[in-house]
Amino acid sequence: MTFQDAVKKSIKQFMDGKMPKNLMEVSGGEVKYTPEYFDGFKKAMEEEGDAPEVEETTDED
């Protein structure tokens, strides 16, 4: 298995909502970047995108 194959497999597992079992055991389940975190992040990004954009004002003097 090449590095790219391993990366591909890891991405697929994460997208299926699976987290590395041993990592979770070692960290005691206190991991920030979980699939749930990114679901929330996506929601936040979408809400931010729906909000009216505020044009940046620059002082042109």
Binding site: F3, Q4, A6, V7, K8, S10, I11, K12, Q13, F14, M15, P20, L23, S27, V31, K32, Y33, P35, F38, F41, K42, M45, E46, E48, G49
Partner: protein, 192 residues
């Protein structure tokens, strides 16, 4: 002849700290590593590169593995941790691509994978060499010349029947009525 090879045992004396990946990595924590990668991707220059790659049909998997390999080469993260954080990094890129309306391909589905060959790459890049054209010419079916007829070594034609007639065959097999049949030896001693 110039020998440009290391002296036997040179590896035992070499300073292995010359390479970043020979030293202990800077980051060993999962969350810290993901934060580092996200901050890297969020940099303006890096973000432009990542999303430009996605625009030209580069898969997210390829982009992620490239970014991770850069970090491994710099000695920032170890290889095994890089594989572990590839999922969150890919998901982050996916979320950003979705919210910004970029088209992307995750590259995790292998069902419609097209096998990459040198010819396919050349076609994709618009490189057609003269050698390729010659190869194509060689690939055309070879025209087989007609069998030479006539002469001493020529193949027999339908006109030149090589098959013997029935009589000739019968005589060769000794079945001809005119052929001499072996005469049975007379019993000289008169014994039955």
């Amino acid at each position: 002849m110039k020998i440009d090879a290391p002296v036997p045992g040179a590896n035992l004396l070499a300073d292995t700290r010359n390479y970043p990946w020979h030293r202990p990595p800077d980051i060993t924590d999962y969350d810290e590593a993901v934060s580092y990668m996200i901050s890297r991707i969020s940099q303006e220059e890096q973000a432009e590169l990542v999303y430009s790659l996605l625009q030209i049909d580069t898969t997210v998997t390829t982009v992620v593995s490239g970014l991770l390999m850069q970090s491994i080469a710099k000695g920032k993260i170890p290889i095994d941790l890089a594989i572990l954080i590839s999922g969150p990094v890919a998901r982050y890129i996916e979320v950003i691509a979705q919210t910004n309306g970029y088209k992307y391909d995750m590259g995790t589905d292998t069902s419609d994978r097209v096998k990459i060959t040198p010819t396919l790459l050349k076609m994709a890049m618009g490189i057609i060499e003269d050698d390729d054209e010659e190869e194509e010419m060689e690939a055309t079916p070879e025209v087989v010349p007609a069998m030479p007829e006539g002469g001493l070594m020529g193949a027999p034609t339908d006109a030149d029947k090589m098959t013997a007639t029935d009589e000739e065959q019968a005589s060769m097999l000794g079945m001809n009525a005119d052929s001499e049949e072996p005469v049975e030896e007379e019993n000289i001693d008169g014994m039955a």
